[in-house]
Every structure is written in C-alpha cells, then in structure tokens.
Symmetry: C2
Subunit: 342 residues, 2 copies
C-alpha cells in the first residue's frame, strides 16, 4: 500500500528541487535576473512598473532554469558565456507576456496570491504591456540567438497562440477529445518548456541527437507538468499550489479529468455535466458533485497515470547525456513535480 | 487664393496613387497576397476565420507596398526574388496584429465599414489571434530575413508597443506636450512605415546611405500620414476616410490639434477642455464647441503645416535615388496623402 505522505511535505519537496537547481545555476540566474531588469527598462514608466510587478513577483524562473541547466548539462566546451543568459531571459519574457494576456482572457483576479495586472491597471494596459514583453523577447533572441534558435522560438510562439485559441474555442465543450486536449496543453506549457531546453542546449553546442533529446525532454516534462496542474485543480491541495480549488471548473475549462469523467458517465450523469459546465455561476454543490464523479471514475488517478507516462519519457530521454549534477537535478525536478498532486 | 477642390476628388486622388503603385508592383503584390493567405492557414479554424476576415477585408496593403517599392526603387541587381515578398508579408502581419489589439484597447466597433473582430468574436479571441499574427510575422522574418532586418523589425515592435502604452497613459492628458505626441505617432505609424521601407531596401542590397535615406523616408512619411489622420478626425471629410467624425475626441485621445488648441486657449476655454475631455459621453454640442476652438486658433491648419514639414523631409530623402517610376509613385503618394485633409 502506498505510503501516506503529508501534503505539505510534497509541496516543500518540489520547491526544494527548484531551489537546488537555482543553487546550481546561481551565477547564471543572477545574470538572467540582471538582464531581465535591464530589459524592463523603458522610457514609458507604466511599462517598467507593470513589467516589474509581474516579472519580479516571485515566480520560480522555471523556464530560464531549464535553459541554463540544459546548457550546462552538455558538459560543453562551448566558448559562449552570455548567449544562453540572453536566451533564458527571452524565454521568460515570452512566458510573462502570455501570463499577462492569459489573465485578460480568463478575467483572472489573482495570481500567486497577488492581484493580477489586469485587476490593477486594467485589461487595455495588460494587452499592450504583454505586446511589449513579447517584442522584447524577440529583440533578445535576435541579439543573443542564431537562426536555429530564432526559428525554434518563433515557431513556439505560433504554437502557444494556436493552443490558446484552440482552448477558448473548446470552452464548455464536453465532447473535446484527448488529442485536442494534448494539443492545448502542448501549446500552453510543453512547447515553451521544450523551446527553453532546446535553445539552452543548442547554444551550448548540442549535436543533433542531443538536440532531439532535449526537445523530447522539455516537451514531455511540460506535458506531465500541465497534467498535474490540471489534476490539482480538483485535488484538496490546490490552495497550496497557488490556485483556488475548482478554478478551471468555474471557468468552464475542459481538462483531462473532466474529459475522462464525461466519457465514463452514464446518461444521467452526462446530463449533470451538460447542465453545470455551461453555467456561469457554478455552485459549490455542483462542484462537489463533479468531484464525486471524478473520484467515482478514477479520473484524477488516471490523469496521474498519463502524467507519469510523459514523465517517464522525459527522464529516459536524458539517458544519452553523461551523469552530472545538472542531470540529477533535472530528473529529481520531474519526479517531484509529479508528486505535487498527492 | 487656393483653388477650391471638391473633397471627393482628393480622396479619389490618394486612392488613385495607391492603385498606381499597386499596378507597378502587381506581380509582387500577388505573391504577397498568396503568401499571406498561406500563412493564415492554421489547424485551428477560428484563427483562419478571423485572420481572413481581418486581412482580406480590403485594406490597401500600404505597408507591404512600401517594402516592395523600396526594394525596386534601388534598380537593384539583387539576386533575391522572394525574400522581399516574405518580409512584406511579415510587415502586414505586424500591422494586422496591432489593429486587432488596438480595437480591443479602444473598444472599437467598426473599422473600414465592417464590424471589428472584437465585436464579432469578442475581446479574448482578438487578443489571442493578435498574438498568433504577431508570432507568424516573426516566423516569416526569421525565414525570409537576415539578422539586420530581424533587428529592425523586432526593435520596431518594441517601439510600437511602447508608443501604445504611452498613448493610453496620456488619455485625457491635455497637458501632454508635442514631443510626447510625436513619440506616440512614431510608435503608432511612422516606425512600421520606416521598417517596411528599410527591410525592402536592405534585402535589395541598399548601401548605408541608401538604408539611411529609406529609414528617413519611411519615418517622415509615417509622421505626415498620421498627422493628417489626426486632423481628419476634426475635418468634415472624416466619414469619407473611413473614420467617424470626432472618434478621437470621443475616446479622449489627445492629438496635435487638441494640444495646440489647449495651449492657445484662454482660461475660460481651458476650463471647457478640462470639463469635456474627461467626460465619457461627449455631447454633440461639446464637439461642435471644440471644433470652433480648433478653427479659432488655426489648429487644423497648423497640424497641416507640421505634416507638410515631415512630407518635405520624406520627399527630399529620396533625392539620392535615381529617378524611376517607383520613385515618382512614392513621391506622388506622399503628396496626395497630405491632400486628404482638404
């Protein structure tokens, strides 16, 4: 029987992993943060203000960490000392831009326990400052990257935006299939994880097979990560993860747990799903009933099974790299990211 | 005394100029349109739908025309046969992305006599499809450009978004100075005009002095163009130009005519401006009073004087190029764009 682990410990373990990776990449992380600050500079005060509010609000810098640790993973003798920093900052700017626009699209009011920028400065400003951050990221990648990394990052931006449109096109669509869902979470999370890893490796001189391995590593890690995030929305430790229990449900977002539950429900239960998913104000009672069905049909557990599949592929893809402390830290990071659920 | 020219004739003359330039660049324009259509292709149907609605809605393709005519202006022996097409399409995608986001920010309901995308599909979708178009433009410039053209276009995107934030930061700010206004219209219009010209020339093999000339040409043409646009908002032929009379006024946008009028107004008139500019619902009566003051203090005429200054610089900057049909068409285009006002 599985060991019963207190929830708080799991959260702490994942944070511990990030901290360890940050410690390993300490020098780089400092340079990345310095560059980010420098590039938030603008003659328009409002841009600086919002940029700093958003980017300095205590995010984990997970994506830039992927870039810099994949750079070092290669044990490379690359002469590059700064381009990977520039690309890591570019990746973080893309991420920040998408967060700003996401919060406008989702009408979100808080993120990481702080008011969202759209709540403080309004939607208009968030849209335009998002555009600024996005443009800045292209400036950075033009300056610090090469044609290959530029292609990866611009292709990724297309995939991200396609994923977002696909997601809102499927709001409330209970009959969305799993493939569409995977395409959405690839756009939302996996594609940028993957790009972050690829550009770090490539700028460090990755050979073709290494590049392919990092691409697979990032993509599969991202898929696993988002699956767990989507499951957490229905699990009791969501508050701990900086989300409110049932946020996705309230927004009518169809994620894997719901797709599985709807498919497995009987006619009467399907009627329930149809009735509640399109309601703007979802009552607590309905949320509880939804969770009951999720547990009845093992939907959270099966989401975890899928996440484990992707995590396994991600970990295996690292096998071509020699063992070093970066590799161990990355593997540990994936393992703990999966454990966030329970 | 100045000749009295019917308004309709002026509009026709400008359209005639665009038509002539389109005729000159017929083959290129066809390739640009084909490429644009191809790049609107997406596995997400909604993206295709909105992209086509927006990009195929009968815009003049002014910016791509600048790219391709500046390419040919050089009488070049460049071996490039397609990169200038790709860059022209990239420029049009940036433009389309900014239109989508602008309409969200301005809560606009119609553009060129059609409902705006945000009216049809909602703000969320417009934000995300704008991001898609913007990402597509970076894909195009990565594929068809070089590091110099990439730098120009990514720098331009930063300037555009900074300009937009600067503009909304100054909504209703009657004390905005002329320099800030020039920075705003540079972001809004001149910077992309300039980039369009520069990349066309550079990909055609422009030497340093030619590159500088095209940069100046595009910037100054753009400044003149936007000044006239801003003046048209208060002139009787605004309807003809696809704008509604007083749109800027209603939105509380501070443009040069207002800056000049406010600065020249006496205390009592200043009170009037302060009273009406912050009102959400501006009454017809107030708009008429505002126009009276604009005419009393020659603000429209003086805006035209400024526009003529920029137009003159633009035309003169072309002097280093040998005479050819592209040069004549570009000069004529500027001259007629100025005449749109009366």
């Amino acid at each position: 029987m599985a060991e019963v682990i207190p929830i708080l410990k799991q959260k702490a373990d994942f944070d511990e992993c990030i901290k360890k990776l940050s410690e390993l990449c300490k020098g780089d992380l400092h340079s990345i943060n310095t560059l980010i600050l420098e590039k938030l500079d603008s003659s328009v005060p409002l841009i600086q203000e919002i940029g700093k509010y958003l980017i300095l609000s205590g995010g984990k810098r997970l994506r830039p960490l992927l870039t810099t640790s994949c750079f070092h993973l290669l044990n490379n003798d690359s002469t590059d000392t700064f381009n990977h920093i520039g690309l890591a900052a570019a990746v973080e700017f893309i991420h920040a831009a998408t967060l700003l626009h996401d919060d406008v699209v989702d009408l979100s009011k808080d993120r990481r326990g702080k008011l969202t920028a759209n709540e403080v400065w309004g939607n208009k400003t968030s849209v335009l400052v998002g555009d600024f951050l996005f443009s800045r990221s292209f400036q950075l990648m033009t300056k610090y990257g090469n044609l290959t990394t530029l292609k990866i990052l611009s292709d990724t931006s297309v995939i991200i935006s396609e994923g977002e449109v696909l997601e809102i096109s499927n709001d409330n669509n209970l009959e969305m299939n799993e493939d569409t869902y995977f395409k959405i979470i690839n756009g939302k999370t996996a594609s940028l994880f993957s790009a972050a890893c690829q550009v770090g490796g490539l700028i460090g001189g990755a050979k073709i097979n290494q590049h392919q391995a990092l691409k697979s590593f990032g993509t599969n890690f991202g898929m696993a990560f988002q699956l767990i995030d989507d499951a957490i929305d229905y699990s009791s430790n969501s508050k701990l993860m900086g989300k409110n229990l049932g946020d996705d449900f309230k927004e009518g977002k169809i994620t894997l747990p719901i797709i599985l539950a709807y498919g497995r429900s009987n006619d009467e239960e399907k009627q329930f799903w149809k009735k509640v998913i399109t309601k703007t104000n979802k009552e607590e009672e309905n949320f509880n009933k939804a969770r009951e069905l999720l547990f009845k049909y093992n939907c959270i557990e099966d989401t975890l099974v899928r996440a484990n599949h992707f995590a396994d592929v991600a970990i295996d893809s690292l096998s071509i790299f020699k063992n070093n402390e970066y590799k161990s830290a990355l593997i540990k990071l994936i393992e703990e990211s999966i454990k966030r659920l329970y």
